[in-house]
């Protein structure tokens, strides 16, 4: 334990970075997921096809490969773009931005299915009732569908967030200073890999437990208007 203690502040910074990364990817992924779900349910064949291609590709490729492809691929693409625009220099994304993009893209692909299911689970009668009251499609979506989608999608999104949190460890491969990266540095410096990776796993477990508690309370809060399950 005494080998790890001097690294406590680094671990704290690493944990904060992991949380920032997870929340950034969550924000991007939720937007992509809602867009993807609306696209998949729209009458426009082009929108449906785009969403289908997006989810199929992202869900078939390893998470690590997506992270590497976005980080190294974007550097090549951006440098080429800069050349086209007449700047002669190397351009790349920071590991944080590349990590948020990669993890957000993956979260979004899975969230698309969760949101799609949630939107479909809103009873049809409620939509018809809203339309009968004279609400337009947009107002119906905003007042009737969306508030319930939030409640119905919460269990699925919580599980996806747990997966996302563990996937943040992959971004250490491109050098972002999060928990895994800190443990690697510590393990190499002190030659005590067991202690560092054990502490890292405990931090991830703690984050998992906190997320699960948060999910439980959010679900209880979102379902407060429903009769309690008294089985």
């Amino acid at each position: 334990m005494e080998t790890v203690l001097p690294y406590a502040n680094l671990f704290l910074l690493g944990t904060l970075m992991t949380i920032r990364l997870a929340l950034g990817a969550l924000a991007l992924g939720l937007v992509l997921g809602l867009l993807g779900a609306t696209a998949k349910l729209s009458q426009d064949p082009l929108a449906r096809a785009l969403a289908e291609i997006y989810t199929r590709i992202v869900r078939g490729i390893p998470e690590l490969l997506v992270v590497l492809l976005i980080y190294f691929g974007s550097a090549v693409a951006l440098t080429r773009l800069a050349e086209l625009l007449g700047f002669d220099r190397y351009v790349e994304l920071s590991p944080y931005v590349a990590g948020v993009l990669a993890l957000g893209l993956m979260f979004g692909a899975y969230a698309t299915e969760v949101f799609r299911g949630a939107i479909l689970a809103v009873p049809k009668g409620q939509i018809e009732a809203a339309r009968a009251y004279g609400m337009g499609p947009w107002l119906t979506f905003r007042r009737i569908t969306l508030p319930q989608v939030w409640r119905l999608a919460l269990p699925g999104l919580g599980n996806l967030f747990l997966v996302l949190m563990k996937d943040t460890a992959l971004v250490s491969v491109i050098g972002l200073g999060e928990i895994m990266w800190v443990s690697k540095i510590g393990a190499e410096n002190t030659k005590n890999a067991i202690a560092f990776y054990f502490v890292a796993s405990l931090i991830y477990l703690a984050l998992t437990v906190v997320t699960m508690r948060g999910q439980f309370h959010l679900e209880a809060w979102a379902n407060r208007g429903l009769p309690r399950d008294t089985r």
Partner: protein, 263 residues
């Protein structure tokens, strides 16, 4: 909002969607135009060699993982706390921490212990191959055990009661009724887990193994063509994943055919 505004917004949204699509398609076409296909053709064989290792790692760890998962799931549903809690702790630890941490812990961590270094198991723990295999196996076993637990608990109560009522012992009921039913119920979720394992196996490359991702990374270190090689590797992963998913659905349909509506 009045209907006219809604209509206008819908039209604007559609126009934006088409413009965006056109832009993306143009960008992709330009990208595909400037890609270096020579390098893909030159190294495609090496990538396939890597893909074989990927499939080998996943196949072995999933097979052994299942053999660990079954007893673990049975322990997990047991009423005996001495059986239930160890299984619960094992599943909780391996599902709650990243696979990358588990790999590094086993490969870099256990190797530093004198107990391991001087023990008879050292020839195993010093090889990246065996460490990855152990990590993958323990990881997928934990996820599979949880899937099996859910499946066992999803077996309709009446079927279990019926088995007991005609005099089957608990063990016999498990063997003849509960487990065969649970395996069929858990099959779709188990297929998903294997796909996740296939994707997770890319982490073998982080401790120098030349699986599909590892092979891609070594090639890129030599040629510096990340877009070409990573895209080619991604394509191979997609083919493997969807081929597997297709085959798995066929199996699902076959073993659950007694539930299908009569033709």
């Amino acid at each position: 909002m009045n209907p006219a505004t809604v209509l206008l917004l819908a039209r604007l949204g559609r126009a934006a969607l088409y413009a965006l699509t056109a832009l993306i398609v143009l960008g992709i076409c330009y990208g595909l135009w400037i890609l270096d296909y020579g390098v893909i053709f030159q190294y495609f064989g090496r990538l396939l060699v890597g893909a074989v290792l990927t499939i080998e790692l996943v196949a072995i760890s999933v097979l052994i993982g299942f053999c660990i998962a079954l007893p673990t799931a049975l322990m997990r549903v047991s009423t005996n706390p001495w059986l239930r809690y160890p299984a619960y702790a094992y599943i909780f630890y391996f599902r709650g921490t990243p696979l990358l941490v588990q790999i590094f812990f086993i490969y870099h961590g256990l190797g530093q212990l004198d107990l391991i270094r001087d023990g008879i198991l050292w020839p195993i723990f010093k090889e990246a191959y065996w460490c990855v295999l152990i990590a993958f196996t323990l990881n997928t076993a934990a996820y599979s055990a949880e899937i099996l637990r859910g499946a066992i608990q999803a077996v309709p109560r009446g079927e279990i009661e019926a088995a007991r009522a005609i005099g089957m012992s608990k063990a016999l009921a498990y063997r003849r009724i509960i487990l065969p039913r649970a395996l069929r119920i858990g099959l779709p979720a188990y297929g998903n887990e294997i796909v996740l394992m296939l994707k997770g196996s890319a982490l073998a490359s982080t401790i120098t193994l030349l699986d599909l991702t590892g092979m891609a990374r070594t090639i890129i270190a030599r040629t510096y063509t990340p877009v070409e090689i990573f895209l080619a590797a991604g394509l191979i992963y997609i083919v493997i994943n969807y081929a597997f998913a297709y085959g798995w659905t066929r199996i699902e349909r076959r073993v659950n055919r007694y539930l299908a509506p009569p033709a």
